[in-house]
């Protein structure tokens, strides 16, 4: 049985995390469109959010609420951390998209390939 541990349902979340992480990373590397690259970056970051939230989960625990009937809580700290990371992610995406707008204004294209050609001409 031990050999099959890695597909145990308890690790289900982490498989999703790894899939999203790799998918996002692949998009960032493989896509030539600057907006698509940012989409990939977002997927990549989201996988990390899931990673943190999964590790905060405690077996048979409730949401972290103080009150009667709530004995075991999930760990709220990862949630708070990820709240911060989401804000950072939004800021990055916003800045990235505004750069794409400026690039489009300056070059008239947002395709990596065309940009490289244009840059080779000017330099």
């Amino acid at each position: 049985m031990e050999a099959l541990d890695f597909i145990s349902p308890g690790l289900y979340n982490y498989w999703i995390v790894i899939f999203l992480m790799m998918a996002g990373f692949y998009i960032v590397i493989a896509r030539g469109n600057l907006v698509k690259k940012l989409v990939g970056l977002n997927i990549f970051q989201t996988s990390v959010f899931l990673l943190y939230i999964s590790m905060g989960k405690v077996q048979d625990a409730t949401a972290p609420i103080l009150g009667e009937g709530f004995d075991t809580f999930s760990n709220p700290l990862p949630h708070v951390l990820i709240l911060t990371a989401i804000v950072v992610g939004i800021a990055t995406t916003a800045l990235g998209l505004s750069l794409v707008v400026r690039i489009r204004e300056a070059y008239g294209t947002i395709e990596d390939k065309d940009l490289l050609e244009l840059e080779d001409e000017t330099s």
Partner: protein, 491 residues
């Protein structure tokens, strides 16, 4: 008051930034950023003095004790880096006014100073904090403002350079967060000292542990532009405004190196770190970087790009020193952190002066320029000599210690490689000197010496790169203390 110095260091530039936006005037914004960075420099000196006399400073944010609350923890290592960052910040803002007025559209200048202050906040925060996740937040503050600063460059390629850096930088920062998450899984803490204590009980062969180290190493290597993860750096340095390049080249990568030191030596500890074999990989990459980047630098026509590649090579020297894992090696790395910051700042400031008067930093536009701008090119030569490692300059001190460390570790080939790669630096610096001093100007032009307000900061830096090459007590003394602490394993 003095008890709150660690947080004031970060808080003052953070609070000053919105004033620049609200007041919207370029000269007022410049004055604000100059005063702020001078105050930060003074505070960092006071902190260094406090640390040297009284030992480690621990500041609990909001009064919550560590490891629950966020702690600002300052020991010799980060007190030293704080001084570097804030000193460069002060020099650059003293220098920046004319250069910025010329290179950035008038209506965007106040935004430049805002982004600059935020970048300073992020870098100082990264250095001062004792909480690994807080460090990530400051890292992103400094990175985001850096992307904005780079995109202010005149050439439209600044935009693509900034975009490229944004993608690479975010990947790096996210890798750092993944690594940190894995550490949190094993220890349940984010405080750096607490991480160190708890990781001492963890089995080094655990896969989570190794994955965490791998993610942290790759993420930070991206940020500090360790070869071959340096691809964002040359374009970013080339197309950013001159002042920004000078600031980034001497602070951003240095702070990333500091974080790397913290992760390797304080969080993981020398013994665990050595077991993983990562130091060997870093040593090989560092040596490759020294040679490949220096060689590429020789063939550059644009001098900013040449110095950018030289920066990648110099990062190689710093990381090489660290990878020896000995006190001599690590102190060579740390002292080169300081020395490289000084000389690269001087070199980029000199190019900023050339850009101001000539409007280009291409080698072909600089024929015989030393006759027109003797002071600027004089400082460039001083910086260049330091880059090569000529005695009586700071570069010599670093190289001397690096070679000592290599001999101590019984690695004569490495010592030889350090000397060989210095010859490459000689080649690319000489190309500039030859063109600037011995070629006749192409056309008669009325290029004048740069204004005094730019020359003074430039020569402070050039002078410092000679002064600290002769009087090494301060820099080496602190670097050795820091290295002993890091290698000795006391958190």
């Amino acid at each position: 008051m003095s008890a709150h110095l660690p947080v004031l260091q970060v808080l003052i530039p953070l609070l000053a930034a919105p004033f620049c936006v609200v007041l919207r005037h370029r000269d007022i914004a410049w004055a604000i950023s100059l005063i702020t960075s001078l105050v930060c420099f003074a505070i960092s000196l006071m902190i260094l003095d406090q640390v040297l006399t009284q030992g480690v400073i621990s500041y609990f944010m909001g009064g919550w004790p560590a490891p629950w609350g966020i702690e600002f923890r300052i020991d010799v290592v980060n007190a030293y880096v704080l001084v570097i960052v804030s000193a460069i910040g002060a020099i650059v803002s003293l220098y920046g006014r004319h250069s910025i007025n010329k290179e950035i559209p008038r209506n965007q200048i106040y935004l430049f100073y805002t982004a600059y202050l935020l970048c300073l906040t992020g870098l100082l925060g990264m250095t001062a904090t004792g909480d690994a996740f807080n460090l990530f937040v400051f890292l992103e503050i400094s990175s985001l403002s850096t992307y904005a600063l780079i995109s202010l460059g005149k050439n439209r390629r600044a935009l693509t350079a900034s975009y490229q850096y944004l993608i690479m930088g975010t990947l790096g920062a996210t890798f750092y967060v993944i690594g940190l998450g894995l550490l949190y899984m094993m220890t349940g803490t984010l405080n750096i000292v607490d991480l160190h204590n708890k990781l001492a009980d963890v089995d080094g062969s655990l896969r989570t542990f190794q994955a965490a180290l791998a993610f942290l190493t790759v993420g930070l290597s991206l940020k500090l532009a360790l070869f071959p993860l340096h691809l964002w750096l040359p374009n970013a340095y080339t197309y950013a405004p001159s002042t920004v390049t000078a600031f980034l080249a001497s602070t951003a990568t240095k702070v990333a190196v500091y974080v790397m030191l913290r992760v390797f030596f304080t969080i993981f500890g020398v013994d665990l770190f050595e077991e993983t074999g990562v130091p060997n990989i870093i040593m090989i990459l560092a040596i490759c970087g020294m040679f490949v980047a220096s060689t590429v630098a020789i063939f550059q026509e644009n001098l900013k790009r040449m110095l950018a590649y030289s920066s990648v090579a110099q990062i190689g020297y710093i990381m090489l020193g660290i990878s020896f894992l000995s006190v001599t090696g690590v102190s060579a790395g740390i002292v080169h952190l300081f020395n490289h910051a000084i000389m690269k700042c001087a070199l980029f400031l000199a190019l900023g002066c050339v850009m101001y008067r000539v409007g280009s930093v291409k080698l072909s536009d600089m024929h015989g320029i030393a006759k027109k701008m003797p002071w600027t090119m004089g400082a460039f030569v001083v910086g260049g000599l330091s880059l090569i490692g000529v005695p009586l300059t700071v570069g010599f001190v670093s190289k001397w210690y690096l070679i000592n460390a290599a001999m101590e570790a019984d690695m004569m080939p490495v010592a030889a490689l350090i000397l060989l790669s210095s010859l490459l630096a000689l080649v690319y610096v000489w190309r500039v000197i030859e063109v600037a001093y011995f070629r006749a100007p192409k056309t008669e032009s009325n290029i004048k010496e740069a204004p005094l307000s730019m020359l003074i900061p430039l020569w402070i830096m050039a002078g410092a790169s000679i002064y600290f090459g002769i009087d090494t007590d301060m820099t080496l003394g602190v670097a050795e203390l820091a290295a002993e602490m890091l290698v000795g394993g006391t958190p």
